[in-house]
Symmetry: C2
Subunit: 308 residues, 2 copies
């Protein structure tokens, strides 16, 4: 079964890792949100791509969910001493990724080519693709203020209440992204934030249309467990956008886009009667074993959907 997974940061990275552990690498493509990429201290930083890469490479920091294991903070501490911004915590190892990426982009390579290079160097065998080679910055509107995404997310600690998520127009998917969708049996929407991780990917032309039109199965995994986001602002954003902060509301938000929906055992029964097929599974991914088991159960679910 050929699988394309749409991933944001931490949750997406974990499910991508589960999928990568059970399928042949040539059958797995992870398409990653780049809406939260930004330029900082002269460097091009792609937080979601890095979270996915580090997780797949087995060098992720398990405590924070982002960044690298065994990280140190010598440079950013000195940047702060020199009066520079240190709200975005750039570790010494992590910095090497940003320097390398910025170097290759300045030399004229595409973000897709840079990501492929990093995968090779990090020993990652599955395909990891940025959703686009074009900049596609997500912005957060809070009342009259419009924040660049990382300013709102990291610097403001996602506290300013959200009025609207602003996504750019005219962003196009790469050829390799389109080809991945065209050959996929299953498109998996990872348990990432629907508004700032998944919508930015769906907003890239023609990804939403491909998902609607192509015959593959589309399964989403809920990022909401017990009324809370496993990590990050998803539940808070749902409240501020006037939605119930439940798995059911996530399924209804994806609506006709999905054929199947996976939600957590803590919410058992809450998604009964939805128009899509559902599976109630243990979606918490603390360990590699959790990730493998959940991926396996989702593939089994997909096999049932594809037979219908």
């Amino acid at each position: 079964m050929k699988v394309v997974a749409l991933a944001g940061g931490v949750g997406g990275a974990k499910l991508a890792d589960g999928i990568a552990r059970i399928l042949p690498p040539e059958d797995v493509t992870i398409i990653v949100n780049t809406g939260d990429d930004f330029e900082h201290l002269g460097l091009t930083i792609c937080p979601d791509l890095d979270t996915v890469l580090y997780r797949l490479a087995g060098v992720a920091n398990d405590e924070t969910g982002w960044g690298r294991a065994g990280e140190s903070w010598r440079t950013i501490t000195e940047v702060a001493a020199l009066g520079g911004p240190d709200w975005f915590r750039l570790g010494d190892l992590d910095l090497a990724t940003h320097l390398m990426r910025t170097h290759m982009l300045r030399e004229g390579e595409s973000l897709t080519a840079v990501t492929h290079h990093l995968c090779q160097k990090l020993g990652i065998q599955v395909s990891v693709l940025p959703m686009s080679n074009q900049p596609a910055p997500t912005q957060i509107q809070s009342g009259d203020t419009v924040y660049p995404f990382q300013t709102w997310f990291v610097q403001e600690k996602w506290q300013p209440p959200i009025t609207r998520v602003l996504l750019p127009e005219d962003v196009r998917a790469t050829r390799s992204v389109i080809r991945a969708f065209e050959t996929a049996d299953l498109v998996l929407i990872a348990p990432s934030n629907p508004f700032v991780s998944i919508d930015p990917i769906l907003n890239v032309y023609p990804i939403r249309a491909l998902l609607m039109d192509l015959p593959q199965a589309v399964i989403a995994v809920s990022p909401i467990v017990g009324g809370q986001a496993v990590k990050g602002p998803a539940a808070k954003m749902m409240q501020e956008l006037g939605l119930p902060h439940t798995s059911r509301a996530v399924a209804e938000y994806y609506d006709e886009l999905i054929d199947g929906f996976v939600y957590d055992v803590q919410d058992a029964g809450s998604c009964d009667g939805l128009a899509v097929e559902t599976r109630c599974l243990d979606t918490m991914m603390y360990t590699a074993e959790d990730r493998t088991r959940l991926a396996q159960e989702i593939i089994e679910f997909a096999e049932v959907l594809l037979k219908d």
Copy 2:
């Protein structure tokens, strides 16, 4: 006595430090070569400025002459592991300077303003000025090949024989540089490489004309001791350019630009009969005491010149 010192890297930084140790800070301006600045890994790197700043701040690496004391190499080691260039050794502490500088330049600050900010944060009280706010890249021609300066100097370890030094046209000094010259009693040409440290400064309009026209004393200190450069390629370049690699040839190279010339006791007698006033001094600066003593002796020499 108001002193303006023209400085390249290591030797210039050491003499600048000596001057800074004996004169009131408001009387000292160091004008630094930026011809060897370059963009690398997305960062704007100013090697001579950094060497001067680190020396004046007391955080210089005494063993290498460049970079910071107590440096570590975690990020650049990881850059190399990711397949990136590591021929320019960026230490973890040093990187913070480049990140901060690049950040401020991207925000629209001038290199002069960035340098002033770094001086404040590093506790440097004398004025340190880049020769220009414009990029002014020095290039090295070797036969038919033209190298960006750092490629020749660091990556090629200054081995390709030099045919010509190529300096850019139409680079202009900043207002603060011109003002420093206009109020100086003494212009000191530090024991830096005449071709790739001092000439790039003199090439900035109207610095050479200011030195010729203004009534201040101009004293150069020879970077050649016993027929060798104290550090770097100065002697090798003199040979390749068809000049004797001697202090005397340095004095003749500066010619009418200078009123006084300081050369090392190892070359005693070698500069007799020159048209300029000379002083034969111990110019080796191993310690802070050496730097203070040499600076003091040069100031005494300048006082004699200014009385004439």
